[in-house]
């Protein structure tokens, strides 16, 4: 049975819950893009419309919608898919609990948006003591408590579902059998559970006292609350990043199978084992967000830097395995060392999302090199280099891969063919290229010192001349192209839902998403080409590090 048939067998009630999460996620993403349009206008120096008051409100709303709610909703949908659609029609443990979790997340979204548009210009960080200056801040904290509760409930539901897969709970063999049987992506979701619980725990630890303190019901002065908040926040915020990182790779494993029909030539335990690395290496590396803080001892920063290098490793190896899956499959039909690439289904929008998402992930990952080392972080901390890497990472990689799976999700669940093939084919490439323009010019702006969160970067005419040009390219061109690519996606998905051609046989997809036909002529199990991206990545991060030291050595003011 193909994976499409397996996904199609999921129960309609579970599909409804997934669809609710998916649609709420998409609406959050539409909101994030709409506010991004305002940010593009404000942040592009050529327009001359910089406005601090409007900018910080829009930035707060944009980040909360995009980074918190789009991910919270869509990743909950993926969690349910991992527990049902990838389990051959298996059911979710409790549908009622799933809907309760959805209600909490939606309540969080509404509460946060009321907070933002009532004037809580606190950014998504909402750090005390700054946040205390804004009367609507408690609504930000309350919304975060709701979304954390929603995440906790849906994760508990997922975990309870996993427990139902083992009849003899005391038998190690039964557990081993279940873990070896499940799909790699479902295993990835299980590995994410301890990280999700850590995030939820940290969120309660942060926002319960912050919420109560903002009404004066408890005192937050005596215990160095702002300092502790900043530290705990970064632990939570750091771990949050790795949920999309893991989910995106889990999605990539599904997409490569759906688009090319490829299977791993390596034992699945290798891929599963690599997912276990995340809960081990991610939590201790939170320190890389605090490399320019005076509150952390240098020794801790150096240990943190060394550990931080490990976070690339599982992702790099997953990329090797996934690329290798395609290589072995394609070359089994006789294609040569590089010739196989030309025969991949480049016109399938979900495949384009997969491949461009992976390329963008690799490039954005390389851009993090200087930032996560104590020795070089002071070159870029707080500059525009930070959004210049995070946007390709979360939009050009994670969101693009999610878009790829949404193409299949909508088509399979609603039994409709993709509307607007040509637009759908262009969209993933445009989104990826747009974010790479944003990343390249934005990183150069960061190296040139452009501050990360300033509406007006003129500083009374004293700013370096290069700043305006770089920001015009990064935000004006890269940002605008990103908005266009986003609109194209929303139009295709919206139109597919309501106007896509009905599929006669539900398990057979339309031409755009059809699985690639490959006729094997030989057994081929080697993956040399798949090694190349890893080699390039390592050389790039070494080069970036050496380059950063080179720049720092030539500073006209030496720091040390």
């Amino acid at each position: 049975m193909s994976l499409v048939q397996e996904i199609g067998k999921s129960h309609p009630d579970d599909q409804k819950l997934m669809a609710a999460y998916g649609i709420a996620g998409l609406l959050s993403l539409v909101g994030a893009f709409a506010l991004a349009a305002v940010l593009v206008v404000i942040k592009t120096p050529a327009f001359g419309l910089a406005s601090g008051a409007l900018y910080y409100r829009m930035l707060t709303g944009h980040a909360i919608l995009g980074f918190v709610y789009w991910f919270a909703f869509i990743q909950a949908a993926l969690l349910i898919a991992g527990a049902t659609a990838l389990r051959n029609g298996g059911r979710l443990w409790s549908l009622r609990l799933g809907w309760l979790a959805f209600a909490f997340t939606t309540a969080g979204l509404i509460t946060n948006m009321v907070g933002v548009f009532s004037g809580a210009d606190v950014l998504y960080t909402a750090f005390p003591p700054l946040a205390a200056s804004f009367a609507a801040t408690p609504l930000i904290y309350l919304g975060y408590l709701f979304v954390a509760t929603g995440a906790l409930l849906i994760t508990l539901d997922f975990l309870a579902t996993v427990l139902t897969w083992v009849e003899r709970k005391g038998s190690v063999q039964a557990w081993k059998r279940m873990l070896s049987e499940i799909h790699i992506s479902t295993f990835a979701a299980i590995c994410a559970v301890p990280l999700i619980f850590s995030i939820v725990l940290a969120a309660f630890f942060l926002y319960v006292p912050a919420f109560l303190g903002s009404f004066g019901w408890i005192s937050t002065d005596a215990k160095e609350f702002p300092l502790n908040f900043r530290l705990t926040y970064h632990v939570m915020f750091h771990i949050i990043h790795y949920i999309p990182a893991m989910a995106m790779i889990a999605v990539a494993y599904v997409l490569v199978e759906l688009t090319t029909g490829a299977n791993s030539v390596y034992r699945k335990t290798v891929a599963k084992g690599l997912f276990l690395m995340y809960p081990a290496v991610v939590p201790p590396t939170f320190v890389y967000h605090l490399m320019a803080d005076p509150s952390i001892a240098q020794g801790i920063k150096i240990i943190g830097s060394a550990l931080s290098l490990l976070v690339w490793i599982p992702s790099l190896l997953h990329m090797f395995i996934i690329t290798g899956m395609m290589e072995a499959k394609m070359r089994s039909s006789g294609h040569g060392l590089f010739g196989w690439m030309g025969h991949l289904p480049w016109k399938n929008p979900a495949f384009a999302s997969l491949i461009m998402g992976m390329i963008t992930f690799g490039i954005a990952g390389g851009l993090t090199a200087v930032l996560l080392q104590e020795q070089t972080a002071s070159l870029l901390h707080g500059t525009f280099a930070v959004p210049a890497y995070i946007h390709p990472m979360v939009v050009g990689a994670a969101s693009l891969l999610y878009m790829g799976i949404i193409y299949y999700g909508v088509s399979i669940c609603m039994k409709r063919d993709i509307w607007g093939s040509v637009i759908a084919r262009i969209q993933p490439y445009l989104l990826s290229v747009a974010l790479l323009v944003f990343a390249l010019a934005g990183t150069l702006a960061g190296y040139a010192g452009v501050p990360r969160r300033s509406a007006d970067i003129s500083f009374g005419g004293r700013a370096p001349e290069s700043w305006e040009t770089l920001m015009n390219v990064a935000v004006g061109i890269g940002g605008t192209l990103t908005l266009i690519a986003g609109i194209l996606f929303f139009v295709v998905i919206g139109m597919t839902m309501f106007a896509g051609k009905k599929l006669l046989v539900a398990s057979e997809l339309g031409n755009d998403l059809a699985i690639l036909e490959v006729t094997p002529t030989r057994e081929f199990v080697y993956t040399p080409t798949a090694l190349i991206p890893g080699v390039i990545f390592v050389l790039v991060v070494l080069m970036f590090t050496a380059g950063a030291f080179g720049i720092m050595g030539n500073w006209p003011i030496q720091f040390g």
Partner: protein
């Protein structure tokens, strides 16, 4: 189907070779704290804002020039206080070739010391209660813009000051930044900050 695991082994070797960055740290001589004082933004001492404010006020009083800028003698610590939406002192004069100890503290929010050096910058967080201690040695005369790059409120964009690096000792030039230019910096900035404070009702600072 039997796969060739040698490629998998090669992939592991490639992935783990990102750790080659670690010997690069020692190759560039920055892996461990430098002798006598630690790295630029290493852990600072905890200090009450009132004590730091007193030190800063005394420091400004002792070193202020008629144009309002502050010229620092080599060997004496520099105190800079950050607050919504300004730095105190507003203009610092240093001499090229000398080494200085810069100490910074915020009296309210978390701010940043982001010094612009042409097409590159050095960035350090400045927070309340913990002093950011930076050793710096200017080598090239010029006027350097310092901005806050940590969001600190609606007037964040207007939070900046100048460090003027003058020729080495004996060749000092008081006029590196004209009097008019200095007045433009401090007055313009103060006006903008006070407008923002009035408009948004936060930031009651000394």
């Amino acid at each position: 189907m039997k796969s060739s695991n040698s490629y998998l082994v090669a992939a592991f070797v490639i992935a783990f070779s990102v750790l080659l960055i670690i010997p690069m740290w020692s190759a560039y001589g920055v892996m461990f704290p430098k002798e006598g004082g630690g790295h630029a933004h290493g852990a600072g001492e905890a200090l009450a804002a009132s004590e730091f404010e007193e030190n800063t006020a005394r420091f400004i009083e002792e070193h202020r020039l008629p144009d309002g800028s502050v010229r620092v003698e080599h060997g004496k610590p520099i105190y800079v206080m950050a607050m919504q939406y300004t730095y105190r002192p507003n203009t610092l004069r240093l001499a090229a070739g000398e080494q200085y100890d810069l100490r910074m503290l915020s009296t309210d929010m978390v701010h940043n010391f982001s010094i612009q050096m042409g097409n590159t910058s050095y960035n350090a967080v400045v927070m309340p209660k913990i002093v950011t201690a930076v050793k710096l040695k200017p080598t090239k005369p010029g006027t350097y813009l310092v901005v806050c790059n940590e969001y600190c409120g609606i007037g964040h964009d207007y939070m900046y000051f100048s460090i003027i690096v003058e020729e080495a000792k004996g060749e000092a030039n008081h006029e590196t930044m004209s009097k008019e230019e200095h007045e433009k910096t401090s007055k313009g900035q103060q006006e903008r900050a006070s407008t923002i404070t009035k408009d948004h009702g936060h930031g009651e600072h000394k």
